[in-house]
């Protein structure tokens, strides 16, 4: 196992290089640059700006500059937020996004997992239908609908919680964003857990256990491990996505996370910001998928890596 982890960590570097290289050239192909505004700049002004940010250099040379800066851990200056470097932006935003994402993920795992298990044991009974119904609803209703509804109900009508704003991370301000983030994840995890549980419950050894009248808690403990695989597979990328923020939740609730940089950076053609988010997301994805592979071997002794 140790060797496996080491190999994977080593292979992360070339993977990152591939991601950085493809992304770098991909984003430069798109029309419009960081300084194309609704009102175009004077040709000379534009030239001055391009010179300052070295955009007037040949593309391969810019790529080399970016890569060598990246090696030193320098993500460059933002083209849009001209007073900030990418590192400064991430240093402020990432902890916020990770905090929200982590809370939402934990909540989703606990609630979604429990609901899924309950539904599986009560398959085709009213409880099951209720869970499946709720889950379907949770998956169908997008967060750009959930968020305004929460704001109207809890922020305006009941006036229990602030409608938006981060307020330096006050508890009250994080409740609705966390719920909005967690809701679809609860739904997905409940559905996946339920399906996997049903599968395991039908396997011969569990049928035997149940036929022998073993207590429910024992059966749950036996089955949960087997049912965990698809949930774990799903969680890898889902965790990477959740922890790096969500544009919808951040714009509607006014949260200064990093989730919006992915889309905003792209729409603003803020090349360095986009590259920064690409690197950030890639690191998260690679890390969590490695974690997932390790967890596979832990929950299911049948999984082995040679």
């Amino acid at each position: 196992m140790g060797l496996f982890i080491l190999r994977r960590l080593l292979s992360a570097l070339p993977t990152l290089l591939v991601i950085v290289t493809i992304s770098f050239f991909l984003i430069r192909l798109a029309p419009g640059g960081p300084f194309d505004l609704e009102r175009p700049l004077e040709a000379k002004v534009m030239e001055n700006l391009r010179k300052i940010y070295q955009l007037d250099q040949p593309l391969w040379y810019q790529y080399w500059l970016y890569l060598s800066a990246l090696m030193r851990g320098d993500l460059g200056p933002s083209f849009y937020f001209r007073d900030f470097s990418i590192a400064e932006l991430f240093a402020r935003g990432l902890p916020i996004s990770m905090r929200l994402g982590f809370t939402a993920l934990t909540l989703a795992l606990i609630v979604g997992g429990t609901l899924g298990v309950i539904a599986a044991f009560r398959q085709n009974q009213p409880t099951d239908y209720a869970v499946v119904g709720l889950a379907t609803f949770g998956i169908t209703v997008p967060s750009f609908v959930v968020a305004p509804v929460l704001q109207i109900v809890f922020g305006l009508t009941l006036a229990w919680l602030p409608v938006g704003g981060w307020n330096d991370g006050a508890m009250r301000n994080t409740i609705m964003p966390t719920l909005t983030l967690a809701l679809p994840q609860i739904a997905v995890i409940a559905r996946l857990t339920r399906a996997a549980m049903i599968e395991v419950l039908r396997s011969n050894h569990v049928r035997t256990l149940r036929a022998n009248g073993l207590p429910l808690s024992v059966i749950v403990r036996h089955t949960l491990r087997g049912a965990a695989l698809p949930v774990v597979s799903y969680l890898g990328p889902a965790a990477a996505a959740l922890l790096t923020g969500s544009i919808v939740v951040e714009t509607i609730f006014g949260i200064p996370g990093v989730g919006r940089y992915f889309v905003e950076g792209a729409l603003n053609r803020d090349y360095t910001l986009v590259m920064g988010t690409v690197v950030m997301i890639a690191v998260f994805v690679l890390f969590f998928n490695l974690l997932v592979d390790i967890v596979y071997a832990l929950v299911d002794p049948r999984v082995r890596y040679e």
């Binding site: 937020f81 200064p256 919006r260």
Partner: protein, 529 residues
Amino acid sequence: MLHTRLRATAAILAFGFSLSAASAQMVYNRGNPGDPETLDPQKTSTVVESDVLLDLYEGLVTYDAKAQIVPGVAESWAVNDDGTVYTFKLRPNAKWSNGDPVKAQDFVFSFRRLMNPETGAKYANILYTLKNGEKVNKGQAKVEELGVKAIDDRTLEITLEAPAPYFVAQLAHQTGLPVHPGSVEKFGKDFVKPENMVSNGAFMLKSFTPNDKIVMVKNPNYRDAASVKIDQVNVISAEDRSAALRRFQAGELHTYNDVPTDQIKFIRETLKGQFRVAPYLGTYYFAVNTQKAPFNDARVRQALSMVIDRDFLAEDIWGGTMIPAYSFVPPGIGNYGEPATVDWKDMSPIEREDKAKALLKEAGYGPGGKKLTVEIRYNTSENHKNTSVALANMWKPFNIEVKLVNTDLKTHYALLRDKGDYDIARAGWIADYSDPQNFLFLAESDNKGLNYASYANPEYDALMKKAAGTKDLQARAKILQQAEAVFLRDQPYLPLLFYGSKNLVSDKVSGWESNTLDRHLSRFLTIKQ
């Protein structure tokens, strides 16, 4: 007995309340529909920035509550006879937030910095009116050659390239704001960080977190600090218009300067007087590619323009927040008087339709003629989409088939800038300063970047040139009106609407005045607790 106790409690409560009210800070939560790209007055370019920068800094001239130009750091100024040399006298009590006096040399430093190509000022060209401004910015002259000179600490002399009646108005734009030379030299581009920034406006920067908020506190060294009532301004970044509306309803924002247009009816019903619409110096138009057949035919463009029901657009699509446009220059602009209008303005819709049919027929199109296929391009937005759908519907009866194409903003404007292959494209213009030249120059043939229609009419260019050389404001206005008449005859742009400013202003805010530039400096406001 009970009575007295109650009264006593009430008195204590009231006393406690008044005590806390007296010690409470007056905090203004200003919603801003986006983030400033920078707080560096020389690098600035957006409207969002202007709102913040005008609170932090004060230029030679500034705006009052009604956005009229009033003396700022300069207490008075004089112009020489040919209108090319301005001499500004600075106030003795103008100070930086660290206590340093604001000197004429600071302005020299700031204007040179603006024009210096190494600064990368996006909006340097607005002050190309300065002598050698353009040359310095293009690297053809040294910064020392810029026409800005400090006679002494309190006297600044500015020389212009050519007379410009709108020069003082230009100075009020946020690019005319000064920076503190000492801190710029010490911290380089990091002088904008809250811990480094020294400013001379009514407020000082306390913190700036992108996508969250900018906190500014009252500047005790401001020359007119006694009249500033607000202690702290939180400029809250609220990009989602609908969410911002809800935050306003909940009292989390005191003001916000945009609304979701689709919900105007709901907003009018629920917020009543707190929703304020006022004319705004901006034109919403669709540019026609005048180099492409059949749109190179003025008759076709005229016909297309004529049959657009602008009242429907203004009232129903934009919820009454826009004004139907029959000219290109918005009404209420300075140095102009009444704009010229299209000659069919007073025709009834039926007469306009008949005229349009006749024009199209002459050009070979219209009902019974060839089918005219038009592609409308717009950058993705609910309002542009609704407007384009409405246009398509209005043109349909004239044997015109419309295809709608939307792209993201950068792709849209890159296409316009590169003069890509398009028929009709959505665009708009908001005034930088109140002068007709700031609109009409959009159609000059040598304005490569902004002339989206690729309109080239020597008659128009000649008139614009003649106006630029005319010093007498009335005579100049006449010439500009002639130019606009030529423009409206040719319709390179189909002017549709004049913008309105759409503000949400809480009842708690006083001192807030609607104005055509939609500028609202925090120092004139008071917030009721």
